[in-house]
């Protein structure tokens, strides 16, 4: 293995606007981060093989070499531990966890080590590790390869959680995650890789800032990941009925941007949560609870929350489709909220 000092100098990352797929947006963020900072590296299973399992890493090994695009054995807990050791001694590892369902196989690293390491040391060090993880259903991958699990990790002080709902968000959130001196768990949705959108090369997302992706006065829909585009589709259908939905892409679960959500709900008085995971202990429950504690008055009829049944994801295609919130279900929930007395 060679040493980092031999790597290429930081590339020009101009403020160009380009249309990219979500996959390529991630690729661009990785590329720009690797070019900018010689201490950044990407590691995980098959990350350097054939562009990685989801092809997000295409071209990187050719450019940065097999040391900075580092294939690991199959041992998630072990190699996140390795990343932790690297991060406290001068490097900025990005770890790819192929499916979010595998995050629990590294449960100790993710729950007990990364978030608590700086704290337990009394602030002596920082832990600049980004864990990229590929989340979500729609792939017919069955019960053990379809979780988002995004909310499990927002309970952990010390761990930032980012959720990318579009190509633009994917790029800028990932750049921010990699630059962060704290551990960030970054969720990509496998159902979005082919989607196109505008990416501003070089842009960093603001930590903890949600984005209003559509304005509207009648009902607020809060969404993450795949549910962002489904909420936008719902909003379109609702507009045909004369209902103007405001759609918020939450972008971060920790920190959670309650001010943005609150302002919107205070305006619309109605809330729909579009989330691809069971309701109990989810971010949707947290958002609603925060508003309630904050004395925001809003309609919260049961239909106003579009939540999957409390069931694991099935392989069977019609079942997988039925369990996820569809644009129709989100729109119905919004209609319910609007018509509630």
């Amino acid at each position: 293995m060679s040493t980092l000092t031999e790597t290429a100098p930081a590339a020009e990352v101009a403020g160009t606007e380009v249309e990219l797929t979500y996959r390529d947006a991630i690729n661009a963020a990785l590329d720009d981060a690797l070019a900018e900072d010689a201490t950044v590296l990407l590691m995980g299973e098959d990350v350097s093989s054939d562009g990685g399992v989801f092809k997000t890493n295409a071209g990187l090994v050719e450019k940065y070499g097999r040391e900075r695009i580092l294939n690991t054995p199959i041992c998630e807990n072990g190699f996140i531990g390795v990343a932790l050791g690297m991060s406290v001694t001068g490097l900025r590892p990005i770890v790819e966890i192929m499916f979010s369902d595998f995050l629990p196989t590294a449960g100790d690293a993710i729950v007990n080590e990364l978030p608590k390491f700086r704290f337990m040391s009394g602030g002596q060090t920082s832990v600049p590790v980004t864990v990229r993880s590929i989340a979500g259903a729609t792939g017919r991958f069955g019960t053990q390869h379809s979780a988002t699990g995004e909310s499990w990790y927002m309970a952990l002080p010390g761990l930032r959680v980012a959720v990318a709902g579009s190509p633009g968000a994917a790029y800028s959130l990932l750049r921010t995650a990699i630059r962060s001196n704290d551990p960030v768990l970054f969720f990509e949705h496998k159902g979005l890789y082919g989607r196109k959108g505008v990416v501003r090369r070089g842009e960093l997302a603001e930590l903890g800032k949600a984005q209003v992706v559509r304005e509207g006065a009648d009902v607020t829909i809060v969404a993450t990941l795949l549910m962002v585009e489904r909420s936008l589709a719902a909003a379109k259908a609702l507009a045909d009925d004369g209902i103007e939905a405001e759609v918020i892409d939450l972008r971060w679960l920790n920190p959670l941007d309650m001010p943005t959500v609150k302002a919107s709900v205070q305006k619309t008085g109605r809330l729909v949560v579009a989330e691809e995971q069971p309701h109990p202990a989810g971010w949707g429950a947290t958002v609603i609870s925060r508003l309630a504690m904050d004395n925001v008055s809003f309609r919260a009829a049961p239909a106003a929350v579009s939540l999957p049944d409390h069931l694991p994801i099935s392989y069977s295609p019609p079942l997988e489709d039925a369990i996820l919130p569809s644009p129709e279900r989100i729109a119905d929930a919004a209609r319910g909220a609007v018509s509630a007395r």
């Binding site: 299973e45 991958f141 069955g142 392989y315 069977s316």
Partner: protein, 325 residues
Amino acid sequence: MKDGQGEGATDRRVGWLRKMIEIRLFEEKVQELFMKGLIQGTTHLAQGQEGVSVGAIAAMREDDVLTMTYRGHGQALARGMDSEAAFAELMGRASGCCGGVGGSMHFTDFSKGLIGAFAIVGAGLPVAVGAAMSARMQGKDSVALTFFGDGSTNIGTFHESLNMASIWKAPVIFIIENNLYGEYTPLRETTPHEDLAIRAQPFQMPGIVVDGQDVGVVHDTVAEAIERARRGDGPSLLEMKTYRFRGHSRSDPAKYRPEGELDRWKARDPITILGARLAEESVLSEDDQKAAWDDIQSQIDAAADRAAEAPFPTLEETHRYVYAD
């Protein structure tokens, strides 16, 4: 006729050949149905590895059990899972072995001792250790087998399982299907040695390298390990040298293979090897073998057709799969 069952009986190896052909053709059909969209998601075919499933499982007794991985079609069929139920599962139908909810990665059939197929690398190993312990604690002399890949020997659960099996002398056989790759990554990049059988060393159990392409050798080695476990002498680790003829999963063109590697392994096709031997020994002529392929092909086709007629499950129906109480 060393693998035969004695004078007058049909040579067991004819059954093994037929079973390997069934698995091969089943998986060909899977590929075809995938193209048609009748099967979705992903599949991990084990074509080229049939000798391991068929040989090992032939050595099992009816009350023995096994766990396996997402690459488990071969084991399921070898253990007698009905191919219609298997196709139906792949098509997500209510009549599938798991009611259509499991899919390709979770072929399970308790009535056949197929007690679990795991999509998480390494997860099936401790479950087999538990089943083995359970049998012994209940005064039975049945054993458990667990199949997993070369790449799975790098995850902690492998180590934990071998250690527990060893200290408790659990009647369990660990079977590595070493097909030289974990997804796209060759073994030598993730493991410091070629023969994984040496991973048995610190656990005081036999570690044996086996030619996985020779179903007879597989059978005999596994039979011996099972005997050992059954009489209370503890676990074994068997490394089957084998190869998958296709990519890791549906989306993998397997471009990472060095030139010629696939051809070399195709020359060691377990079906060809056994077929040639049976012809040579005049147990089953080439014509008879040809007839067998045709016969099995039409059974497979018919099973797939019947499976495609079954209804999909409803979400309601799956609610009762969540809790037993």
